[in-house]
Symmetry: C2
Subunit: 157 residues, 2 copies
């Protein structure tokens, strides 16, 4: 398996065009497009997305939002953490370790990571060292949160 | 098209067994199963799920969480609202109006409704009278929120 390079994606028309190939496209991407058109962000400014290119084509992506410690309802001590959204590998590029590479990148940033394990993806998250939390309906409202804990970090409650 | 009856689902082993047919199954359902096994909830207690049965079989479901006004970052004036999760119609029952019936039920409860429009489902939500919000990365973190506003309710900001 060749080494997979994870890159921070830049907001430009090419990136937003490539995003259209992904299943999970919605307001965040539309909002970036509008910001670009209205000159509210510069071309090539940083996005919350990271991705892997193959032959110049975006093959996989992940969005990583840094959540402020004051909103932390998961970790002890409460701290900034990353929330993973929109992890997706395009069909022709699956089963080549791209999902693993993107999640490993998130874990390498030194903060706890939270995600919502959807579509029965629990085995993948467990393989990546994530653990399910004790489900709290008020906090988790229908999500299936899985978290990755760096050394010295534990769960609230 | 025959009338579709929306029922509040009861937490029991039959319901949780039927949930296994749905794509979006995770911690919330597992948590209900554990609560039932540990006698932490009574058999047939109410769940946040509503569904439609066909010939005694669960054909479609929706979860409706009532979010407390103190967490409301969407509506003006701030108020309790319903958040829709896990709207899903099983494959053999699609295109019979079940999604519409479930969402209409949510709207009939008299509070604003919020959902996350996933899988390019925007046209469905727009048909149901929902509107996209102005995307706010801090608040919406990668979601594509669509909301339905009852009379006299507007959006924050």
């Amino acid at each position: 398996m060749k080494a997979l390079k994870v890159e921070r994606l830049k907001i430009n028309y090419k990136t937003l065009e490539e995003f259209q190939q992904f299943h999970e496209v919605g307001l965040p991407e539309l909002s970036m497009l509008e910001d670009l058109k209205m000159n509210m962000v510069e071309n090539d400014s940083h996005s919350p997305f990271y991705g892997i290119y193959q032959d110049g084509q975006l093959a996989a992506r992940i969005s990583l939002y840094r959540v402020d410690a004051k909103y932390d309802r998961y970790f002890l001590p409460p701290q900034d953490y990353y929330e993973i959204w929109k992890l997706e590998v395009l069909e022709p590029f699956r089963h080549q370790g791209m999902g693993t590479a993107l999640v490993s990148y998130a874990k390498s940033l030194g903060l706890p990571v939270k995600t919502n394990a959807r579509h029965r993806s629990d085995p993948f998250w467990e393989k990546m060292g994530f653990v399910p939390v004790q489900y709290n309906p008020e906090r988790d409202r229908g999500e299936s949160p899985y978290v990755w804990l760096p050394k010295g970090v534990s769960l609230q409650e």
